[in-house]
């Protein structure tokens, strides 16, 4: 590790390419925590948004009118308004309405902090897209399969859960992969409400070290790597879940 640090310190002295995240323990620590925060934001909101997507797609598929209308309104709102303003709306407008409690030191503290608001916004935003993705997956299932399930005595909900969902899930995976990449990119918006994620800490680092150009490039490479990892993982999953004779028919 010391050798790496020495190399990048020497690189800075000789060429002026300043990468303190690789030799300064303080900046390295900041950057690492930013990376962790981004990953945490992404993973939690991915899981929640997928859950929202499944519930929403279920409500659109099942023949109950009220949940259907609610889901439609929710999807229309979150898909057609800017995610940044949604985040401000939740954090500043709705956040101002939530009760304030005292923390251990006696200072006032909001019940939901900025990290949690970022999670809520990202989950709801990505969830609205997931609903549409799963719904079109459900629609792609051939009617004969549903009829066969009905003939075997499945009820509406059981048919959705045990027959349609496993098939729709496989059809939806490529689109879901794209949306998860989109979600990973959208985590940068948490910067706007001061969540110390990757972009935020990078901004701090380049403000302290005046190495904007280097940090921007590092940031770009890190995000591309993260996107690559997500894409790879989703593709692996798609391969693993592939049913013989089914994938080709769905395409």
């Amino acid at each position: 590790m010391d050798r790496i640090a020495d190399f990048f310190r020497a690189l800075n002295e000789r060429t002026g390419i300043n990468l303190p995240i690789l030799y300064d323990p303080f900046d390295a620590d900041r950057f690492f925590h930013g990376l962790l925060t981004t990953i945490e934001l992404f993973l939690i909101s991915a899981v929640v948004s997928i859950a929202i997507g499944l519930v929403g797609a279920g409500s659109l598929t099942l023949p109950y009118r009220v949940p259907k209308a609610i889901t439609r309104c929710y999807v229309a709102f979150f898909r057609n308004t800017p995610p940044l303003i949604q985040m401000y709306f939740f954090f500043f407008a709705i956040g101002a309405l939530t009760p304030v409690r005292k923390n251990d030191f006696g200072f006032p503290e909001p019940t939901i902090d900025n990290f949690q608001w970022a999670l809520i916004t990202l989950s709801l935003y990505a969830g609205a897209f997931n609903i549409e993705i799963f719904r079109s997956g459900v629609e792609a299932i051939h009617r004969s399969i549903v009829e066969a399930a009905t003939a075997l005595g499945y009820g509406k909900i059981a048919c959705f859960l045990y027959v349609m969902l496993p098939l729709a899930w496989r059809i939806s995976l490529p689109a879901l992969c794209n949306n998860m990449i989109e979600l990973l990119k959208t985590t940068t918006l948490a910067y706007a409400i001061g969540v110390p994620e990757l972009l935020y800490v990078s901004n701090q680092i380049w403000s302290d070290n005046l190495n904007t150009f280097e940090m921007m490039n590092v940031l770009m490479v890190v995000y591309l790597l993260l996107v690559g990892i997500v894409a790879l993982a989703m593709n692996r999953w798609e391969q693993a879940l592939r049913l013989p004779g089914f994938g080709a028919a769905a395409r």
Binding site: A76, T81, F92, Y191, L199, T212, M216, M220
Partner: protein, 280 residues
């Protein structure tokens, strides 16, 4: 009109569908649902305002700041138009480049597309704001590149990459028979793309292109983070000037409703176009 069609049909020897009438009917339920959604949104904003204020005072404040915010929103639209125009032009070339027969064109096109498609918009925006010089000197004269122009360039880059993928997908969706037929007629690769394949692609590219534009417009408030005075910046200025906590909820809802009213019709029309093209 339709009588003429009826008369002409048998004479020419082809049965004419009645495309005009059908398309008019296909759009009218769309239009009503769009209008209903807009009305509902306006109603929600009104109710939120009245609930927050307990009187009509807040409504007056909203109206007072409307021209100022509208000025900002006009900049949002201007940025989005700039980015979509140059992004589309760039995307057509980059998308064709991805399928070019020569490796030294296709490989860099693919790499550029993947890099700029997968980078977060906000990071690209920071890139352009920080790295495009504040002033440029061309032929002895100094030009200032304003913030909003640099932001527009920042939005153009991801649009180029995203549209490049749309173009590539559409070009590849054309059956290979078309390419072979054009080649056997002696068309060069460029002629095939420009005068045989691309015109057919436009129909397929239109819905995703409209979606891309809506996504772009919804991304333009990001420019407020880098100091462009668009609607989000102006809304926050208004909030600071009024210093009234009750205004927070209605004002943000009001601003959201503007974007919704602009983007929702685009989404609906693009969906109905997609459905209509999918049938054929």
């Amino acid at each position: 009109m339709s009588e003429n069609h009826m008369k002409l049909g048998p004479q020419v020897g082809i049965t004419l569908p009645e495309p005009k009438q059908r398309s008019g009917l296909a759009f009218s339920p769309e239009l009503t649902s769009i209008l209903l959604a807009i009305l509902a949104v306006v109603g929600i904003v009104l109710i939120l305002t009245l609930l927050s204020g307990a009187d009509t005072g807040l409504l007056g404040e909203l109206l007072k700041w409307t021209p100022f915010m509208a000025q900002g929103f006009a900049l949002n639209v201007a940025i989005s138009l700039f980015a979509i125009v140059f992004g589309t032009i760039g995307g057509v070339f980059l998308g064709m480049g991805q399928l070019a027969p020569r490796g030294w064109i296709s490989a860099p096109s693919k790499i550029l597309t993947q890099i700029f498609r997968n980078a977060p918009w906000l990071v690209l925006l920071f890139y352009c704001i920080f790295l495009i010089p504040f002033q440029v000197r061309i032929g002895g004269e100094t030009y200032t590149i304003s913030n909003w122009l640099r932001a527009s360039i920042g939005f153009t880059i991801p649009i180029v990459a995203n549209f490049s993928e749309i173009v590539r997908g559409a070009l590849q969706s054309i059956p290979s028979g078309q390419w072979e037929a054009a080649r056997s007629l002696g068309y060069t690769w460029r002629q095939t793309v420009l005068s045989v394949v691309l015109p057919q692609c436009i129909k397929r590219m239109l819905p995703p292109w409209m979606n891309l534009y809506a996504i772009l417009l919804m991304a333009t408030p990001l420019a407020s983070i880098v100091g462009v005075e668009e609607s989000m910046t102006n809304a926050r200025t208004a909030l600071q000037a009024e210093a009234d906590g009750r205004l927070l909820l209605p004002l943000y809802a009001y601003l959201l409703s503007w974007f919704f009213i602009y983007c929702y019709p685009i989404a609906r029309i693009s969906k109905s176009l997609e459905d209509r093209f999918a049938v054929r």
